[in-house]
């Protein structure tokens, strides 16, 4: 809570439909966001039980500087991931952070399971567990509309919801946040589904007097100017992250056809420019961010003979053009958007589902599975086949699709083909085959995401390959992002929020904190996450890397398996200092 020395936590017990509010003074030093959430997760997880056991918690937390400074827009969700069996950590923008702040809660902890499908309604003066029986089985888009009509507070409201994939406990089911944003990775959708929790609606309108307006507003304006009047953020608004397609393609770092290739012949047809030219109709922002990096693309679909058309709009970003585009050999922007639409409706992680389907396609090619298993002809470039397959995953159509729904690692345990199941510690890969940086970063990153420590950036900027330096840089960045994710900034603005700016912002809202304390905070949070991973049985040294990483050359050149494992060992050694 701004201007208070405690973290206000809302505990929701779905078993007994009981609510408890706690002022946690002991958590104040963790600032907010992932700092607070990881402590709450540590307190509430049951390591001896299954990730989807009703006793397991879901923790949401907003940051220590949320919403009142530009681009500090995110909420963190922490849970036990059903995909990896260990630390689940995911970030989303939209309106959730602003509305939680205005409803008056820094963190929400949800345990138990409702007796019937429900949705949680949070507002400043009321918290209710409401009937969602008729919503169960309805896609995420429609549910958003239905809840909108039942709840007040339009304009100051956030609605997060799961689709059928979450209801059916697909391990990488996602949560849709305000139509265009997501808690995408690691399966939060399944955890909500396992609790019969279809959605959460948050409305906020409380009084929040500013204590030191002059100082606060000066800092606000300085940051706002940096964000809007300089070029730092301009690319994210212009054509957005899809501009990555062409440089990665030219440099041989673009994962294509299940990483059989590192470039795609049709890259220019699905580049950022191509999408902007053919499909872009709108740009949007998360509340509190003047950049507007959300790019909405539209395509026309002929749904029946007799000139029957509809227009579909979906958000697109680089990662989706990789996972549902180049990785699957899809050649046109329209087809990619169409696949994205299916993924959105059913509520799956776009990155994981694409990479899983890449494995499945090659598994079928190589005869590890047959058409009897896949039901549809999975082939690179066949968009319709993939759309049907995605629905089959969401509905757990048969044994094969149940396994696909548990991730490429699990599926390859049963059918083989582990060498080309492109996962890092069971989380499917991201869109960069740039060198040792992304491999090390993804494997040792606390949540196995490319955003944990930006390994792909280091691959680009490193002049000469230096093992010690790479390990050191990744370690430093991982800790730094732990601190940034307790604010919780959108990482697109990490160049704006240098230490000086962070200190000025926090001090102007009455939070006295020093630069040394920020460093210590990053370390404390990282240490907490490593403890949680250990509690959940994660062993960094036991992780195996898919051999395909070393068969296909990267942006950096051909990679050597022994070197990669050596780097992991060096990194594990380095983290011992955190104990």
């Amino acid at each position: 809570m701004f201007y208070e020395k405690y973290i206000k936590v809302l505990y929701v017990d779905l078993n007994n439909e009981k609510i408890e509010i706690s002022h946690r003074h002991d958590l104040y030093e963790y600032l907010g966001g992932v700092g607070v959430a990881s402590k709450l997760l540590e307190e509430n997880i049951k390591p001896d039980l299954d990730p989807l056991d009703p006793a397991q918690p879901i923790v949401f937390a907003i940051g220590g500087a949320t919403s009142v400074f530009p681009v500090i827009t995110k909420t963190v969700a922490m849970f036990i991931s059903p995909l990896t069996g260990e630390l689940g950590e995911s970030y989303a923008g939209g309106r959730l952070a602003l509305t939680l702040m205005m409803a008056g809660y820094d963190a929400v902890v949800i345990t138990g399971k409702s007796k019937r499908p429900s949705y949680l309604s949070i507002s400043r003066n009321n918290i209710e567990i409401k009937d969602a029986r008729a919503f169960w089985g309805i896609n995420s888009d429609e549910v958003g509309g239905l809840i909108r009509e039942r709840e007040g507070g339009s304009g100051k409201r956030s609605i997060i919801r799961i689709g059928q994939a979450g209801e059916n406990l697909v391990s990488y089911a996602s949560v849709c946040v305000d139509t265009y944003r997501h808690f995408g990775r690691l399966g939060l959708g399944a955890v909500m589904g396992s609790k019969y929790l279809k959605a959460i609606s948050v409305i906020g309108d409380r009084d929040m007097p500013v204590e030191n307006f002059k100082e606060y507003f000066k800092v606000y304006q300085d940051i706002n100017k940096k964000v809007t009047a300089t070029e730092i953020m301009a690319k994210y608004h212009d054509a957005g992250t899809p501009i990555n397609v062409e440089p990665l393609n030219a440099a041989g770092g673009l994962p294509t056809l299940n990483l059989k290739q590192n470039s795609f012949e049709h890259a220019s047809d699905i580049s950022g420019e191509a999408f902007a030219k053919n499909n872009l109709v709108r740009k949007m922002a998360c509340t509190g961010c003047p950049v507007g990096c959300i790019h909405i693309g539209q395509f026309r679909r002929e749904f029946d003979k007799g000139h029957e058309y509809e227009a579909i709009s979906v958000g697109y970003d680089y990662e989706l053009i990789f996972s549902l585009g180049t990785f699957l050999g899809i050649k046109t922007s329209d087809e990619i958007l169409e696949i994205i639409d299916v993924v959105e409706q059913y509520g799956l992680d776009a990155m994981s589902v694409g990479v899983v389907l890449g494995w499945a396609t090659e598994a079928l090619e190589k005869g590890l599975v047959s058409l009897e298993d896949t039901l549809v002809p999975l082939a690179f470039g066949n968009a319709q086949g993939y759309m049907d397959a995605i629905k089959n995953i969401a509905w757990r159509k048969n044994e094969f699709y149940i396994l696909l729904g548990q991730g490429a690692d699990k599926a390859s345990d049963i059918y083989g083909g582990k060498d080309f199941a492109m996962t890092f510690a069971k989380n499917e890969m991201s869109g960069y085959h740039t060198g040792y940086g992304i491999i090390l970063g993804s494997v040792v990153g606390a949540r196995h995401s490319h955003l944990c420590n930006g390994g792909y950036s280091l691959d680009q900027s490193m002049k000469e390959f230096d093992k010690e330096k790479l390990v050191e840089d990744i370690f430093a960045e991982e800790k730094e992002r732990c601190m940034l994710n307790s604010l919780v900034i959108c990482l697109f603005a990490r160049k704006v929020y240098d230490r000086e700016t962070i200190l000025a912002a926090l001090n102007s809202i009455g939070r006295e904190i020093t630069n040394e304390e920020l460093t210590e905070l990053g370390e404390k949070i990282y240490a907490t996450k490593l403890r949680i991973k250990k509690m959940l049985g994660f062993d960094q040294s036991a992780v195996k890397l898919p051999k395909r990483l070393f068969e296909t050359p990267s942006l950096y050149g051909e990679l050597d398996e022994d070197t990669a494992y050596e780097l992991i060992d060096m990194y594990v050694e380095r983290t011992k200092s955190l104990a």
Binding site: K235, P247, A250, A251, S457, L491
Partner: protein, 78 residues
């Protein structure tokens, strides 16, 4: 005898030369890629990969003959 350089700018980098595409630079003496891009008015921090045909060029690479280069922007974190 001048050295004729042509630089094709991709994507975001196009804004640094809206009129001329490809950018034409003439050198009297061999220069590094780094210096050539400074001459062309392209900020170093915006440059990602530079290619000449199939080869990647580093910023230190010395250019002593006519060449056609393609410059790509840095990869955004996304």
């Amino acid at each position: 005898m001048t050295i004729k350089i042509q630089i094709e700018l991709i994507g975001w980098l196009k804004r640094y030369s809206p009129e001329e595409d490809p950018v034409m630079i003439e050198l009297m003496f061999p220069e590094t890629v780094d210096k050539i891009f400074i001459k062309a008015g392209i900020p170093r921090e915006e440059i990602g990969i530079i290619k000449a045909g199939e080869n990647r060029l580093s910023l230190n690479h010395l250019i002593s003959e006519d060449i056609y280069m393609v410059a790509y922007p840095t990869i955004l974190g996304g």
